[in-house]
C-alpha cells in the first residue's frame, strides 16, 4: 500500500474485513427473514483549499467512515449504519436493519467471494498524497493570470477540492467487491466591475484523476475562460422573453439532457410509474436524431465508476436509440422488478444512505451537422453556452435551466450577450424538437454534481451542438427584445 490514507477495513487496516466477517454480518442481517442484504463499508477523505485575496486563506480536510447495512423484504428496505468498525457496532447496525423483516425465519446468505473490477481511473499519485505547496502554486497561478488579464477584474477566488473514497461491498448473493475512487475538482470565480456594473464569471473542471489534470487544462486557461465570461457579461443586455429556437453549446449542455431526460429514465420512477417514461419502452420518445447513453466506463471522467455501490459492474447502457426508448437505468431492486439484471446504476452518497438508480456519465451522441451551419439556420434565437444548473419535475418532465452565459442569435449569427436567461420546457417535447445535431460531440469537464432525494453524487455529461426548435426563453424583455 502506498499513500497516507487507508481504510481501516482494508487488508492491512486496523479492522480488516474479509469474506468470513462479511458472511457473519450478512447472516445477522438476514436473521429475521429478509430476502436480500448488503454491507457497504466506506472510508472517505476529502481536502479543500481556497485561495482568496491573494493568499491561501483556508485549508480543510475531512475524514468520514462507516458501515451501512441494508436488508430488503419485498419492496421494503431496512437501513442502519455505524461509524466505527468494532464488531459490536457493526452487529447492532445489522440487527437494526434486519427488523424490517421482523417475524420471519432466518435466511442463509450465499458465501461471498471477491469480484474483479475494471480500472477506469488509474492514478499514479493521488492528489491527497501530493505536498500542499504544489496545490497552492496551482491556485496562485490561476489567481495571478486572472488578475493580470484585465484591470476590470476586481475579485478572484480559486478553489481546489480532492478526495478519495474507498468502498468494500458484500451482499447476500455472494458478491464482494472493492473500489478506490479518486476525485479532483478545480474552480475559479472572478468578478469584473465597470462603472458600477458588476458581473461574475467562472470556470472549473476535474475528474477521477490526479494533478496531471492541470497539464491538459492549465490554471491560466481556466483564468482566461472565467475572465472572458465576466467581461462579456458586462455588456450583457436583458434577455428576450417568449418562444424561440435555442442552440445548445457542446459539452456542458448535456446537463439539460441529464435533468430533462435522464432522471425520468431511472428505473425506480418507472417501477413506481411516477415517470413520464413509464411503460414506454419501444416507443418513439425523441427525434430520430437522438441516441442517449449512460456510460460509466469513460476513463477519468467525474461520473465514472468501476463498481457501483451495490457491488455490480456497470458499463454502457443505451437508453434511447434513434429516438426509440430502449430501457431504464437499473439498480438491483428495480432489476428484480423489471426481471432483468442490474446494469450497475445503484449509487449512494455515502454509507449513511441507501442506494438508488443514478446516472454516471449521461450523453447525447453526436450527429452530422457542422456547428456553424446549425447557428446559421437560426433567424432569431438564443445560444446557450454555459449552464448554472437546472431542475426537473420527474412526473411530467417539465424543466427549468438557468444560463450563466448566453447570447442572442440574429440572422444566423451569434450576437449580443444576454443576462438572466432561463430555458423552460418539457423533456419529452424538447427531445422531439431536436432538429439538428452537430458532429462536435464533447464530454463536459468534470464539474457536475447530481442531487436526488437529498443524496449528491458526482456525474458527467456530454453532447454535441444541439438545435431545439422552439423553447420558452424566460427573460425580461417582452415583445421585440
Amino acid at each position: 500500500m502506498t499513500g497516507r490514507y487507508h481504510a481501516p477495513f482494508a487488508e492491512q487496516g486496523s479492522h480488516p474485513v474479509d469474506a468470513d466477517l462479511a458472511n457473519r454480518l450478512l447472516r445477522i442481517a438476514l436473521e429475521k427473514g429478509g430476502d436480500y442484504a448488503d454491507l457497504f463499508f466506506e472510508y472517505s477523505v476529502s481536502g479543500s483549499y481556497v485561495y482568496d485575496e491573494q493568499i491561501l486563506k483556508s485549508a480543510r480536510r475531512a475524514v468520514s467512515m462507516g458501515l451501512g447495512v441494508r436488508v430488503m423484504k419485498g419492496d421494503a428496505t431496512g437501513y442502519a449504519y455505524c461509524e466505527d468498525f468494532s464488531f459490536d457496532a457493526m452487529k447492532q447496525a445489522a440487527d437494526t436493519a434486519a427488523q424490517i423483516a421482523a417475524g420471519g425465519q432466518p435466511v442463509a446468505p450465499l458465501g461471498v467471494s471477491m469480484r474483479d473490477a475494471p480500472s477506469r481511473y488509474p492514478v499514479a499519485v493521488e492528489s491527497l498524497d501530493v505536498d500542499g505547496e504544489v496545490k497552492k502554486a496551482i491556485l496562485e497561478r490561476a489567481d495571478r493570470a486572472a488578475r493580470a488579464s484585465d484591470p476590470r477584474i476586481v475579485r478572484v477566488d480559486a478553489s481546489f477540492g480532492e478526495s478519495i473514497r474507498e468502498n468494500l461491498i458484500a451482499n447476500s448473493l455472494g458478491h464482494m467487491a472493492r473500489d478506490r475512487q479518486p476525485l479532483l475538482r478545480f474552480g475559479l470565480h472572478v468578478i469584473a466591475e465597470d462603472a458600477g456594473n458588476r458581473q461574475s464569471g467562472s470556470s472549473g473542471g476535474g475528474g477521477r484523476m490526479g494533478l496531471e489534470y492541470f497539464e491538459r487544462q492549465t490554471p491560466e486557461w481556466h483564468a482566461e475562460q472565467a475572465v472572458q465570461q465576466a467581461l462579456v457579461m458586462l455588456d450583457a443586455r436583458e434577455a428576450p422573453a417568449g418562444e424561440m429556437d435555442v442552440v445548445l453549446a457542446p459539452g456542458d449542455s448535456g446537463i439539460l439532457l441529464h435533468e430533462a431526460v435522464g432522471h425520468g429514465l431511472e428505473a425506480d420512477f418507472n417501477r413506481k410509474k411516477t415517470s413520464n417514461y413509464s411503460g414506454r419502452v419501444g416507443e418513439e420518445v425523441a427525434s430520430a436524431l437522438c441516441t442517449v447513453v449512460d456510460d460509466a466506463s469513460l476513463e477519468g471522467s467525474r461520473g465514472s465508476i468501476n463498481i457501483d455501490d451495490e457491488g455490480q459492474l456497470p458499463a454502457r447502457s443505451v437508453l434511447i436509440e434513434g429516438g426509440v426508448l430502449k430501457g431504464y437505468m437499473q439498480d438491483r431492486h428495480t432489476a428484480d422488478f423489471f426481471e432483468t439484471t442490474s446494469d450497475g446504476h445503484g449509487r449512494r452518497q455515502s454509507f449513511r444512505s441507501h442506494p438508488m438508480p443514478r446516472m454516471t456519465n449521461t450523453m447525447l451522441l453526436g450527429g452530422q451537422d457542422a456547428p456553424e451551419d446549425i447557428i446559421r439556420s437560426v433567424g432569431r434565437g438564443v445560444y446557450a453556452k454555459k449552464f448554472g444548473g437546472g431542475q426537473v419535475d420527474i412526473s411530467n418532465g417539465d424543466f427549468v435551466f438557468s444560463l450563466t452565459e448566453g447570447y442572442l442569435i440574429e440572422d444566423g449569427k451569434v450576437t449580443t450577450p444576454l443576462k438572466g436567461v432561463n430555458l423552460i420546457g418539457n423533456g419529452p417535447d424538447a427531445m422531439r424538437n431536436v432538429v439538428m445535431l452537430g458532429h462536435d460531440f464533447k464530454v463536459s469537464d468534470g464539474i457536475w454534481t447530481c442531487g436526488k432525494e437529498g443524496q449528491s453524487v458526482p456525474v458527467g455529461v456530454g453532447c454535441p451542438t444541439i438545435k431545439i426548435a422552439s423553447m420558452t426563453v424566460g427573460g425580461t424583455q417582452v415583445g421585440g427584445g
Binding site: 483556508s58 468520514s64 421494503a76 411516477t274 412526473s395 427549468v400 423552460i424
Partner: protein, 456 residues
C-alpha cells in the same frame, strides 16, 4: 437530552482543544455533534423504508498566528482524533497569514447564565417507534388517496424524527452545548392529468415538538388538494402582470435575499446589496428581522457559532436596510461589529448565517389580498436556480394560478417570471397575515406590482 451526554461531549471537545494548543496552535475551537434519527417512508399503502442510526462527529478549527485551517472526522477513536489534530496543524502551516483572522474577543463571549431557554427539545419526539412512524405516514398517504379519485399514485409519505446535541469549546474560554429535536411529515401524491401527463404535488409539516406537528391526515388531504388544483395547467401568453407569491414561494424569494445580506457575501462583493445599508431595498411595507430567540422555532439557538450571545437583529425596517448579518471575521473585514450571526459547520468552518429570518406579517388576509388583485399570477411553486446574487437578476420557472377579477382561476405551469430582486422587493405593494413558523426562513403571502412572465 441527558446532561451526562452533553458533559461527555464538552469533555471530548476540551481534550481536543488542549491537545491542539499543546501541538502548537495559538487558537483552537472544537465542535462536537451527536445525534440520532429515524426516517420512514411508505408508498401506496406499503412500508418502503425504515432507516435508523446514530452519528457522531468532531470539527476542529485552529489558528497558528493568523494562519487558519479546519478539519473534520467521524472517526472518534484515539487514532482518528490524532489525525484530526495533526492534519489541522499541518494545513495551518500551509495556509497564509490573514490579517483579519482571529477568534472573537473573550470579553464578548457568552456564558450559561445568559442563555435563553428556547424550548427546542422535546423528549417525546425520540419516543416515536418505527411502527408508529410508519402508521403516521400511511394514514397521511391514505388521506391523500381518499381526498379525490384522481389521485392515482404516490411518490410516498415520509415521517422523520431526529434529535441532536452540539457543543462548542474554544481556547478563548467558551464552552456550551445546544440541543434540539425535530419531527416532520411529508406527503407526495400524484394525479393523472389530460394528455397522459402526471402532476406531482406535496405538502408537509415540521416542528421541534411532536405536539406541534400537524396531523398527517390533514397534511395528506392538503397535499392532494394542491395536486388536484394543478390539473389542466397551461402556459400563459408572455406579458407584464402583478404577481402574488404564496407563503412558500414568498419564502424562497426571502431566501435569495437572505443570501445577499450575509457579511461573507458583502466583503466578497458578491451581493447586489454592497454599500446599501441605510438605503431603500424594499417597499415601505417590508420589515425583516433575524431572530434566533423565538421559542420552538427551527433556526433558534441560544448562542452563535463563535459563542456570542444570540440577539434579535432588525435587518430591514420600512424598506430600509439596517444591517448586514455578520460573524467576527466578516465584521472585521467590513470595519463593523459581529451581529452574533456566526454559524459553525460540522466541518469546522465559520461563516455568517441567518437564524430565523422573518418577513413580518401585515394585517390583511391572503384572500383579501387576492380579492383586490384584478388580474395577476398567483405563484405556488418555483423551479430552477435563476438568480445571480452579484446583480440581483432573478428569473425562475413558476407554477400556480391565474387571478381573474380577484379570484383564483385556471392553473398555470411552464412559465418563467423575471425581475431584478432589488426591483422585486421594492415593488411589493401588499403583504398578508399568514406567516407561520415551519421554516427558518419565513414569509407571509405578498404581491409584487409587476413582473415579466415568459410563456407562449
Amino acid at each position: 437530552m441527558s446532561e451526562v451526554e452533553a458533559k461527555a461531549l464538552v469533555d471530548l471537545g476540551r481534550s481536543v482543544v488542549e491537545r491542539a494548543i499543546a501541538g502548537g496552535a495559538d487558537v483552537a475551537e472544537a465542535g462536537v455533534h451527536s445525534g440520532s434519527h429515524l426516517s420512514v417512508k411508505a408508498r401506496v399503502g406499503e412500508p418502503e423504508l425504515v432507516e435508523e442510526a446514530g452519528s457522531r462527529a468532531l470539527g476542529l478549527r485552529v489558528m497558528v498566528g493568523q494562519r487558519v485551517a479546519s478539519t473534520y472526522t467521524s472517526d472518534l477513536s484515539d487514532a482518528g482524533r490524532q489525525t484530526l489534530i495533526e492534519d489541522a496543524l499541518e494545513l495551518a502551516r500551509l495556509s497564509e497569514p490573514d490579517e483579519f483572522a482571529g477568534p472573537p474577543d473573550p470579553s464578548v463571549l457568552s456564558s450559561q447564565s445568559e442563555w435563553a431557554d428556547l424550548d427546542t427539545f422535546d423528549e417525546g419526539v425520540s419516543r416515536i417507534s418505527a411502527e408508529e412512524a410508519l402508521a403516521t405516514a400511511l394514514r397521511g398517504e391514505r388521506a391523500a388517496f381518499d381526498f379525490d379519485p384522481r389521485i392515482t399514485n404516490s411518490e410516498g409519505a415520509s415521517f422523520t424524527r431526529a434529535r441532536g446535541v452540539s457543543v462548542l469549546v474554544t481556547s478563548g474560554g467558551f464552552a456550551g452545548s445546544d440541543h434540539g429535536t425535530y419531527a416532520s411529515v411529508v406527503i407526495n401524491p400524484i394525479a393523472d392529468d389530460e394528455g397522459g401527463k402526471k402532476r406531482s404535488g406535496y405538502h408537509w409539516s415540521s416542528s421541534r415538538h411532536y405536539a406541534d406537528l400537524e396531523d398527517s391526515q390533514a397534511v395528506g388531504a392538503e397535499a392532494a388538494r394542491r395536486t388536484i388544483a394543478q390539473l389542466g395547467a397551461t402556459k400563459l401568453p408572455t406579458q407584464e402582470l402583478p404577481v402574488v407569491f404564496d407563503k412558500d414561494a414568498a419564502r424562497s424569494i426571502l431566501g435569495l435575499f437572505a443570501g445577499c445580506i450575509l457579511g461573507g457575501g458583502i466583503w466578497r462583493k458578491s451581493s447586489y446589496l454592497v454599500d446599501r445599508v441605510g438605503t431603500r431595498v424594499a417597499s415601505d411595507l417590508v420589515d425583516i428581522v433575524d431572530d434566533p430567540l423565538l421559542p420552538r422555532a427551527p433556526g433558534s439557538r441560544a448562542f452563535d457559532g463563535e459563542g456570542l450571545i444570540s440577539r434579535h437583529n432588525v435587518v430591514v425596517e420600512a424598506g430600509v436596510l439596517q444591517t448586514y448579518l455578520m460573524d467576527t471575521y466578516s465584521a472585521r473585514k467590513l470595519g463593523l461589529s459581529s451581529t452574533g450571526s456566526a454559524a459553525r459547520s460540522p466541518a469546522g468552518g465559520v461563516s455568517s448565517s441567518t437564524s430565523n429570518l422573518i418577513l413580518k406579517a401585515n394585517t390583511q388576509s391572503r384572500d383579501q389580498l387576492i380579492a383586490e388583485t384584478k388580474h395577476g399570477l398567483y405563484v405556488t411553486g418555483m423551479m430552477g436556480f435563476g438568480f445571480n446574487a452579484v446583480t440581483g437578476d432573478f428569473s425562475r420557472g413558476a407554477s400556480g394560478f391565474l387571478i381573474q377579477d380577484g379570484e383564483l382561476s385556471h392553473p398555470v405551469s411552464e412559465v418563467t417570471i423575471s425581475l431584478n430582486l432589488d426591483q422585486l422587493l421594492q415593488r411589493i405593494d401588499a403583504v398578508a397575515d399568514d406567516l407561520d413558523q415551519r421554516t427558518a426562513i419565513a414569509s407571509p403571502t405578498f404581491r409584487v406590482s409587476s413582473m415579466t412572465l415568459a410563456g407562449s
